[in-house]
Subunit: 148 residues, 2 copies
């Protein structure tokens, strides 16, 4: 007899928590700026790390390059970012936020900051740190499952 519980299965539980906690924030960037998830992510990468290439964002965000490509196209069309071709390696393009892009980022970052605090409101500082540390470990890990 197994005591397995679907709702305590970590990948399932993480998905449920991720979706629930993304909802309210998603509402904000969608309503205020008409952005999708990948667009928001690209915006935040550029906002936080400064000018980057699409590949660099792809690697850091673990986002497929086609998603980046399409998100960048939309952000560019809406004048939230600008591209400049690298003169040394003309395959590469450097992405950076426009003034409008930075304004959107600053606004959304402030929301994110408060929202994060709200999500963690029930936990002590130590508990929050522990939770995030464990999640970071899980996010970075590349678990395989040999011979199952």
């Amino acid at each position: 007899m197994s005591n397995f519980d679907l709702e305590q299965f970590l990948p399932y539980l993480l998905n449920q928590a991720a979706e629930a906690s993304s909802l309210a924030f998603q509402q904000v960037y969608k309503d205020r700026y008409g952005m999708l998830r990948n667009e928001w992510r690209v915006l935040f990468h550029l906002g936080q790390f400064g000018p980057m290439t699409a590949s660099a964002i792809s690697a850091r965000a673990r986002l497929h390059k086609t998603k980046i490509s399409r998100a960048v196209a939309k952000l560019e069309a809406r004048r939230y970012l600008a591209r400049t071709r690298d003169e040394d390696d003309r395959r590469v393009e450097h992405l950076q936020l426009t003034a409008a892009g930075r304004a959107a980022f600053d606004d959304l970052r402030a929301v994110a900051e408060r929202y994060d605090a709200q999500l963690l409101a029930g936990l002590s500082a130590a508990q929050s740190r522990a939770l995030k540390a464990h999640l970071t470990t899980l996010a970075v890990a590349k678990p395989g499952l040999a011979r199952m």
Copy 2:
């Protein structure tokens, strides 16, 4: 000056952890049974909770009814589940696993059980419990964000 860190923003972090931890398991149910995420979820609900209606699964899994409808159609086509119409309320249909469906569930449940243990290998029992408790809280919560 803000000290906001995208990679420590809970919704983002949860998404990264959820995706990373889902990957290896997804590979198994996809390779062995050709299932998609929603099909696996429906299978597990029926396996764990016994016969249910589509609405009941929808409510418990927080999965939209169209996803359920299509997942059920595929699972039925592959003979993993069978439907029976409720005689008292003929709108309702009760879903239950076939023998093949239960076999698939038993197999995948065993994988899930071992995989879960592997994901938590670095943590003590108390830490694991605390982590899952916090995730459960986040998964159940319906956070809004007033006046941000």
